[in-house]
């Protein structure tokens, strides 16, 4: 180290000992033996270090080892912040996965599911599919929508409605419509009481459909052709208000 010259002087000696009192270089020892003042300085530094060692040894909290070592080993691969982050991510991911599964798997059409009941309704009311092309009267349509708590915002946008009836569905009276499109007819159930957080796809026995969250409720659309579903969906969303 540059602090110790071969012919160690007092300044070099004190800088060296002041930096590291335990240094035992021969040159330092020779200087210390020959210089009473520097020996006093070295003794002062050693005394300071002894007091410092005592002062720095602050009391360790009782049970610290037990607490922190056990906690570290039991935490395995996860720290507390990591666990919190992972838990939040896992919850979001779980929600997303369940949403996807709900919308795509056969379980979505289980006996008690909304999708299953929509498809069952489509199958069990064949008269609606055979209604012909004549539009229902405006008064009838408005009556059905009113009973179902649906507001008609734009009748022109809705397009031709060839079937309109109030049906009991999952405990509520809901409008059941048959709406015509260039791609064919589509069955529509307006469901102000069925709140969804994500869109639900339907595909069963040659019928395809979708349940779309709208306002505080949803709209179910089922058709033989996906193009009919898409066309009617586009019009319905702006033609009616479902729920609040």
């Amino acid at each position: 180290m540059s602090m110790v010259a071969d012919a160690t002087g007092c300044i070099e000696f004190r800088q060296a000992i002041g930096a590291d009192p335990h240094r035992r270089d021969p040159a330092l020892l020779r200087h210390r033996i020959g210089c009473r003042s520097c020996n006093q300085y070295a003794l002062g530094v050693e005394q300071l270090d002894r007091a410092l060692a005592v002062a720095l040894a602050v009391p360790v909290p009782e049970g610290l080892a037990h607490r922190v070592v056990l906690r570290a080993m039991s935490a395995q691969r996860w720290s507390r912040p990591a666990i919190a982050t992972a838990a939040a991510v896992a919850l979001v991911a779980l929600g997303a996965v369940l949403g996807v599964l709900w919308s795509r798997s056969p379980a979505a059409y289980g006996p008690m599911s909304l999708g299953a009941e929509v498809m069952a309704h489509a199958h069990h009311e064949p008269s609606s599919w055979q209604a012909g092309l004549e539009s229902v009267k405006a008064k009838r349509l408005s009556g059905v929508l009113e009973r179902g708590e649906i507001a008609l915002l734009d009748a022109a946008q809705l397009g031709p409605v060839t079937y309109a009836r109030t049906c009991r569905f999952r405990g509520y009276d809901v409008p059941h419509l048959m709406v015509q499109s260039v791609a064919g007819p589509a069955m529509v159930l307006l469901l102000p009481h069925e709140r969804l957080t994500t869109e639900l796809g339907l595909d069963e026995d040659g019928l395809r459909g979708v349940i779309v969250p709208v306002g505080t409720g949803s709209i179910a659309i089922v058709a033989a052709d996906q193009a009919a579903v898409a066309a009617v969906r586009q019009r319905l969303i702006t033609a009616v208000r479902v729920g609040i």
Binding site: C10, L48, L56, L64, V68, M73
Partner: protein
């Protein structure tokens, strides 16, 4: 390595070093609760990366390096309100208590008053027994800088304690 062997190795490694790790953390942040948190996070990281420690003789430096990083992280996350070392009630040391205990309290206050760049190498040297080269490695500065800081730290302490280590001018 089986889980029980891993546990055993970890306990053996950190058990003896834990008091000094806590004290080092305390002198870094001068706050008991934060020091314990920093030690906790240090051990969590050490446990997770235990396999990366090849030479057990290097455990002390390895843990100190992790602890310094955790301390830096803890300050990135939040700026704690530090308890001044004057307010920390510390029991008197056993043995020749009396005057020595008073000296320790005064010294602690003087240490707490040192700038971190002077306090830390002194703690590493006096408390942890690190060599100048080891301190340089931990603090990522060169050994000459470490020597200068150590010398200046002791000079500053002696001034704060009003106990000059003997000036060259007064010799003659």
């Amino acid at each position: 390595m089986t889980m029980s062997a891993r546990h055993h190795r970890f306990e053996a490694l950190v058990g003896a070093l834990l008091p000094d790790l806590y004290r080092y953390a305390y002198w870094l942040c001068r706050n008991r609760a934060l020091a314990e948190d920093v030690v906790q996070e240090t051990l969590l990281r050490a446990w997770r990366s235990l396999e990366s420690l090849r030479d057990e003789k290097a455990a002390k430096g390895w843990l100190i390096t992790i602890l310094r990083r955790e301390h830096a992280r803890s300050f990135e996350r939040f700026q704690p309100e530090l308890v001044d070392v004057d307010e920390v009630v510390l029991p008197a040391e056993s043995g020749d208590a009396g005057e020595r205990a008073v000296d320790a309290a005064v010294l602690r206050r003087a240490m707490a008053g040192l700038e971190p760049e002077f306090r830390e190498p002194l703690v590493l040297q006096v408390l942890m027994g690190f060599s100048v080269e080891e301190i340089a490695g931990v603090m990522e500065i060169n050994p000459a800088t470490v020597l200068t800081r150590l010398f200046r730290a002791r000079e500053k302490l002696s001034v704060a304690l009003d106990r000059p280590l003997q000036s060259l001018e007064s010799e003659a």
